[in-house]
């Protein structure tokens, strides 16, 4: 069974995604979760959970921030509220949250998600042994490594198959500090659409923005693993995440639909290179023009980046 997991930017889009055939909605509030397209209130999460459950779909809520003292006290009531709403699972990246979860909301399932820091089977198994029902793999892991990891792990491993991927989180307001220094007033939120490029590489375009969790920088190109889905399936990587933080509205829903078609083709045994080409071409055309696409570390060799 392939599980398609997608982010949402509104209640309406969340419902549209459920209608179009995803399996799990990934949402949350930015006080608790990192880099979400939209910060959902508990009421909105409840509305979408009810809607998802009626359609026999699931909801995963992001609780994967790094919590400082001022916020950690609010985590227990939040987890209890999520438990009461009967969401299906949360993502967690701060071990303190696991401790709270076990005491305060023991029926809530969690997936370990510290992105960059999940790079081996033994790391995943460490968290599984402490109750995790799955893990989100770092995007800096190569295909060759994936093949070694998978047989050692008994739980689902989530892979990003489409969208932007974060490569840096600072607690400092790095962009605001810069604009203050040059004495300019600027919006630094993700809606502003700011990029940085490397020295002497003018055509690079790393997205950068700030929110209450600090400054976030994303990889030069967004991930697209449509051409590699058969390899994922053959190696039992069947949990596919679609990240819509920089792909808005109907465009994101349309791209998600392409992956729904791919999933259905796989499940019907009808996946072909020709179909892949068609879906991939449609994806490239739909993808925002100012953003690039590539297959990231999936196509690198383990020795390329040491």
């Amino acid at each position: 069974m392939i599980e398609l997991i997608a982010t949402a930017e509104s209640v309406a889009q969340g419902k549209a995604l459920i209608d179009c055939g995803i399996d799990t909605l990934y949402i949350g509030e930015d006080f608790y979760g990192l880099r979400l397209p939209y910060s959902f209130s508990l009421e909105e999460i409840e509305e979408l959970t009810t809607y998802a459950h009626q359609a026999n779909k699931e909801v995963c809520v992001a609780v994967n921030a790094l919590f400082h003292q001022d916020r950690i006290e609010k985590v227990a009531p939040y987890l209890k509220a999520l438990e009461a709403i009967k969401i299906d699972r949360v993502t967690v990246g701060d071990p303190g949250v696991i401790r709270i979860l076990k005491k305060e909301a023991p029926t809530l399932k969690f997936v370990y998600d510290a992105q960059i820091l999940v790079t081996s089977a033994n790391q995943i198994n460490f968290w599984v042994n402490r109750g995790a029902v799955g893990a989100v793999l770092a995007r800096e892991v190569t295909y060759e490594e994936l093949q070694i990891i998978r047989p050692q792990v008994q739980v689902p491993i989530e892979m990003l198959v489409y969208g932007a991927t974060c490569i840096h989180q600072s607690k400092r307001p790095l962009v605001e500090n810069y604009f203050h220094f040059i004495e300019e007033e600027e919006d630094t939120s993700k809606e502003r659409g700011l990029f940085i490029s490397e020295p002497k590489k003018e055509d690079t375009h790393y997205s950068i923005y700030e929110d209450i969790n600090g400054t976030h920088i994303f990889a030069d190109n967004d991930i697209n693993l449509m051409p590699e889905l058969d390899k994922l399936i053959n190696n039992d990587f069947a949990q596919w995440k679609l990240e819509g933080i920089y792909t808005k509205g109907d465009t994101f829903v349309a791209i998600v639909q392409l992956f729904v078609q791919a999933k259905e083709a796989f499940e019907a045994g009808k996946w072909t290179p020709a179909l892949m080409e068609i879906l991939n071409q449609q994806l490239i055309e739909l993808h925002p023009a100012e953003r690039g696409l590539d297959e990231g570390f999936f196509v690198k060799n383990p020795g390329d980046v040491k």
Binding site: N122, E140, I167, H168, S170, I196, H205
Partner: protein, 410 residues
């Protein structure tokens, strides 16, 4: 009179055996070093097992401790042999390992029981629940994330019994440590496996794309300053009372790549400041010479990081840099003859007759003088000491001891 007997540990970096000995001579209670594997400083001098044995023996004689940083985030295959590695460290007498990768923590705990584990700052521990999680996992100590403020330290201290270590001096990651792979993506070098290329200190263009593909640069203003994330360094020398009173167990100095000049100076200053405070906290007076000393080995401006609020543009390296007085390390005292007042010195950088030089030593002794006579090893009068590591003799204005250092303003 109130005194404080439970002093925090001064923890200094030691990239080599020489730096380890220097740090301990200059007052460090503990040093942290790297092994041949599993660490984050592939370019820092790392210790062989034999060097570790010598370092541990040296430290034990002086009641100091040696920790080994093994804070890599492993990929498949990287943790092979780690159990044997940790067992060897334990048997050598290493006091603890500093780890962030849970796979390595598990290997260490199960395959080398008895070797204490410290959670590296790479794991970004920022709240007491997280510290409690690791305490329950059996860890002895947690190094706090550099983003934790002084009030947070206080609140965390009240709610957990695990040992707390915090950075007080040196360069800082601009990201939450560990949560940065800029280097992996920009330089094909893994930041969490010892390859960090410090991409955060580069100069970037910052732009938007009002029309697809069309870059509209936003950098500049009147100063033409490019976008950068580079931060100034940290120094908590002005806040020793709060660091002690908040019950931090270990005060950590950054810099395994730094020189013995740096290691000796910084260890010396913090040793002196902490001893001064703990001896008579109620009548403590800050000594400006401590700060002046730290400036002599500073590479960048100094700040208090996140201890007293989120850093602003003033704590970033933008614009014209303040001129930092640069001192060069020129020699180390090997011996001293009280009768003749002649010191034998190993040269570390060119100096000669007429130069104004400063001698300093453990216990915060220091004095300045002009070199007025210089002999080589064969007792021949010379004008300068130009050759690396050459042995020279000179007359000194005050008594010196082996391990005392000599520096000169550049």
């Amino acid at each position: 009179m109130r005194t404080i007997t439970k002093k925090p540990e001064v923890l200094a970096p030691a990239g080599t055996l020489e730096k380890l000995k220097t740090a301990i001579h200059y007052g460090a209670d503990a040093v942290y070093i790297g092994g041949d594997a599993y660490g984050l400083r592939s370019r820092a001098g790392n210790f062989s097992f034999d060097e570790m044995r010598e370092g541990v023996a040296f430290a034990k004689e002086r009641h100091a401790k040696v920790y080994v940083a093994a804070n890599m985030v492993t990929h498949e295959g990287d943790a092979d042999g780690a159990g044997e590695f940790f067992r060897t460290l334990r048997d050598i007498g290493i006091h603890a390992v500093i780890v962030s990768d849970p796979a390595l923590i598990e290997i260490c705990a199960t395959e080398s029981p008895g070797l204490p584990i410290h959670l590296s700052t790479q794991a970004s521990a920022t709240n007491y629940e997280t510290l409690e999680f690791w305490r329950e996992e059996g860890l002895e100590r947690v190094v706090l994330a550099r983003e934790v403020g002084m009030e947070e330290v206080q609140a965390i201290r009240e709610k957990t019994s695990v040992e707390i270590e915090a950075f007080i001096h040196g360069a800082m990651c601009i990201s939450y440590s560990g949560r940065c792979v800029l280097s992996n993506h920009m330089s094909q070098r893994d930041a969490n496996r010892g390859g960090c290329s410090q991409s955060c200190r580069w100069k970037y263009d910052l732009f938007d794309m009002p029309y697809a593909g069309e870059h509209r640069s936003l950098v500049g203003g009147e100063t033409e300053e490019p976008f950068s994330m580079s931060a100034v360094d940290m120094s908590m020398i002005h806040h020793i009372p709060e660091l002690v009173e908040n019950g931090i167990d270990s005060l950590k100095i950054e810099g395994r790549m730094k020189s013995i000049h740096y290691v000796s100076t910084v260890s010396n200053v913090y040793r002196q400041a902490i001893d001064t405070y703990c001896a008579d906290p109620d009548n403590y007076v800050f000594n400006q010479e401590w700060e002046d000393e730290l400036w002599k080995v500073a590479q960048r401006e100094l700040s208090t990081g996140f201890y007293y609020g989120v850093p602003t543009e003033d704590e970033q390296l933008f614009g014209k840099r303040r001129k930092i007085p640069v001192y060069g390390f020129i020699g180390q005292v090997l011996s001293y003859d009280e009768e003749t007042q002649i010191a034998t010195i190993q040269q570390r950088n060119n100096f000669g007759v007429g130069d104004e030089v400063e001698f300093y030593g453990p216990g915060f002794t220091h004095f300045t003088q002009t070199v007025d006579v210089l002999w080589n090893e064969d007792e021949e009068v010379i004008d300068r000491a130009p050759n690396a590591m050459m042995i020279v003799k000179t007359k000194v204005a005050a008594p010196v001891k082996p391990f005392d250092m000599m520096r000169k303003k550049k």
